[in-house]
């Protein structure tokens, strides 16, 4: 396994929220945030940070970007030497792309990037190369007001790459990108990872990240429920090896009795059906075809955030999907999740 470049050890950051009292109108108390997070970022690996709205993904990214202080715990890094050492300021080593930056004003694209380059002591040549890399070289003299949402996302990516970062943090980077730009962006991330950059992508769409990420971290109510390779996490949560097959007409589950298939779900509609199972997928397909079923679709079940959260917390889907965390945070115990791989 690649070496760890950044290790967060039991880190905590809880936002201060106003709690005025008669005697102390300026009083504040600790609200939601992230608690006791242990997370290792590996060199050249792409980590998907997934969780529902309000899980703490942005807080964790901001903490790693050096924007929020670590209230408890510590960050160890291997940026300057081969040894993991405590690091006080992460900003010189980390590139951060926040979610939805509205680049606006009469400033040109190049000028806006040069301003940030000055703050990082980066030269003009690097800025031009980055504009070329993200496909904005032709628009470098355009005012920011003239950029589309997708172009603004590209500019944010260029800004995050200014300092040749060792860790790249991307908060919902696919928002606003068209399919062509999304594909180019995925390629860019792969290329950066192959050069040794550790990439963290936050998203609430697990399926969007599958195929790109090497590892996944599951965040819920400010706590890291699980982290590891996607397959390992699925296995630990009991969600591995699931397949779904759809066909025309009626489906008779008895057809598969001999195959020792674990039946996970069957939707029988008027003219078609969908069957979800765990078992020997090629044999199931073969049997279904031999029995004269017309198969429309079949394949592995894509990872689904709600299922993951239900499996890792023991909660019901309706409790997870509609419940938005309140302003006071009660540390939430992970259920049935192994600590180590």
């Amino acid at each position: 396994m690649a070496k760890v470049v950044l290790a967060l050890q039991k880190v905590q950051h809880r936002h201060r929220i106003a709690s005025p009292r008669w005697s102390k109108p300026w009083a504040a108390r600790l609200g939601p945030g992230i608690v006791d997070v242990n997370l290792n970022l590996h060199e050249g690996a792409v980590l998907g940070l997934v969780g529902p709205n309000g899980a703490g993904k942005t807080t964790l990214l901001r903490l790693m970007a050096g924007l929020l202080p670590i209230q408890e715990g510590k960050a160890m890094a291997r940026f300057e030497s081969d040894e993991l050492k405590p690091v006080r300021d992460l900003r010189p080593w980390v590139g951060h792309m926040p979610e939805q930056v509205r680049w606006q004003g009469r400033q040109t694209v190049e000028d806006a990037l040069m301003e940030l380059a000055d703050m990082r002591n980066v030269g003009e040549k690097r800025v031009r190369n980055l504009l070329k890399l993200v496909g904005l070289a032709q628009r470098q003299d355009d005012p920011l007001n003239n950029l589309s949402q997708g172009m603004r996302q590209r500019l944010s990516i260029a800004a995050a790459l200014l300092g040749s970062p060792k860790v790249l943090l991307l908060d919902e980077p696919y928002n606003g990108l068209d399919p062509v730009a999304s594909r180019a962006f995925t390629e860019l991330i792969r290329r950066l990872a192959s050069k040794g950059v550790s990439v963290v992508i936050s998203s609430h769409m697990v399926s969007q990240l599958s195929g790109l990420i090497d590892r996944v971290a599951l965040l819920h109510q400010g706590q890291l429920l699980d982290e590891g390779r996607m397959k390992d996490v699925e296995k630990r949560l009991g969600l591995e090896g699931r397949h779904r097959v759809s066909g025309d007409g009626r489906f008779e589950p008895n057809e598969l009795e001999e195959l020792n298939v674990e039946r996970l779900g069957l939707e029988q509609r008027e003219n078609d059906w969908t069957f979800t199972f765990r078992g020997d997928a090629p044999r199931v397909l073969e049997t279904l075809v031999q029995n004269g079923n017309v198969i429309e679709r079949w394949g592995p079940v894509e990872p689904d955030l709600v299922e993951w959260l239900c499996a890792s917390t023991g909660l019901e889907p309706e409790d997870i999907t509609l419940e938005v965390r309140g302003p006071s945070m009660v540390p939430y115990a992970a259920v049935g999740v192994a600590e180590d791989e």
């Binding site: 936002h15 901001r62 970007a65 050096g66 924007l67 929020l68 300021d89 900003r91 010189p92 980390v94 951060h96 926040p98 979610e99 939805q100 930056v101 509205r102 680049w103 606006q104 004003g105 009469r106 400033q107 000028d111 301003e115 940030l116 000055d118 703050m119 990082r120 002591n121 944010s156 800004a159 300092g163």
Partner: protein
């Protein structure tokens, strides 16, 4: 590039962008009317001020015309810089800026210098026009010291208002709050300070509004040290030998120093703990 150069470059970018802004274009006619316009009016040889007073010297005319700075230029400073931080917060740019390795204190300094330069450059041009107008109309030119004090004090009062506006901007989560804070502070010191002075005088048993009463003059002079506009007028009064409100010059410059250092320090402190 040294840290100082980085700060100055960042300030220069802010200045360049803001100098061409529509906001400043809107402020130009107001500044023209309030600065050279007032200088022209007060330097009229036939002018008679309330109480039958007639300004005798060009410095005295500039002192009266400084009302234009208090009403117009400071407002311009507030309107140019009230969203210096809140706009970036709303657009997400603040998060990008704060994640750069440039120290936050230096970022704060660059913001102050950038916005201050934006307002000071047009105002300085118009102040020079004021000096020419008054010198020409009164056929009496201000001395070098008077000119320096006049320009420096105006630069200082504009710096204070830029600092207040930026400070308010760090606390505001949206533009409406930011402008309410900025304009509120301006309004308080420009229009409501007289009310504060009156209330304190009433509480202290000093007869109110008797402009020749030494107790009232002394109280007003002291209280003016607590207002940026008051300190500005005190600074200009150091060049008017006929005016004495019982406040020593060192106290006036000390107050000016405090009005500069304290909000600047507060802004740096706010920037250090700023959450995007």
């Amino acid at each position: 590039m040294s840290e100082l150069q980085r700060v100055l470059r960042m300030a220069a970018r802010i200045r360049r962008e803001r100098l061409g802004s529509i906001r400043l274009k809107i402020m130009w006619p107001i500044l023209l009317l309030f600065l050279p316009g007032m200088a022209w009016g007060f330097s009229d040889p036939n002018i008679v001020l309330p109480g039958g007073h007639q300004p005798d010297t060009s410095m005295e005319v500039l002192f009266y015309a400084s009302l234009g700075v208090v009403f117009g230029a400071t407002m311009c400073g507030v309107l140019l810089s009230f969203d210096g931080i809140s706009k970036d917060r709303a657009s997400g740019m603040l998060e990008i800026r704060l994640s750069q390795p440039m120290p936050r204190v230096h970022q704060a300094n660059a913001l102050v210098l950038g916005y201050w330069q934006t307002v000071i450059l047009p105002v300085l041009v118009l102040l020079l026009a004021c000096l020419l107008v008054v010198g020409y109309r009164m056929n009496e030119w201000t001395s070098v010291t008077q000119t320096v004090v006049y320009l420096a004090s105006t630069a200082l009062i504009l710096l204070w208002y830029v600092l207040f506006a930026l400070l308010a901007s760090t606390a505001a989560k949206e533009q409406g709050t930011a402008i309410a804070f900025g304009v509120g502070v301006w309004f308080f010191f420009t229009f409501l300070w007289a009310l504060v002075t009156t209330m304190v005088a009433y509480a202290s048993g000093v007869a109110i509004g008797e402009t020749n009463n030494p107790a009232w003059i002394a109280l007003e002079g002291r209280l003016d040290l607590l207002s940026p506009n008051g300190v500005y007028h005190h600074l200009l009064e150091t060049q008017l030998p006929t005016v004495d409100r019982g406040v020593p010059v060192w106290q006036v410059w000390g107050a000016a120093l405090l009005w500069t250092v304290l909000p600047w320090w507060a802004l740096q402190r706010r920037m250090k703990s700023l959450v995007p």
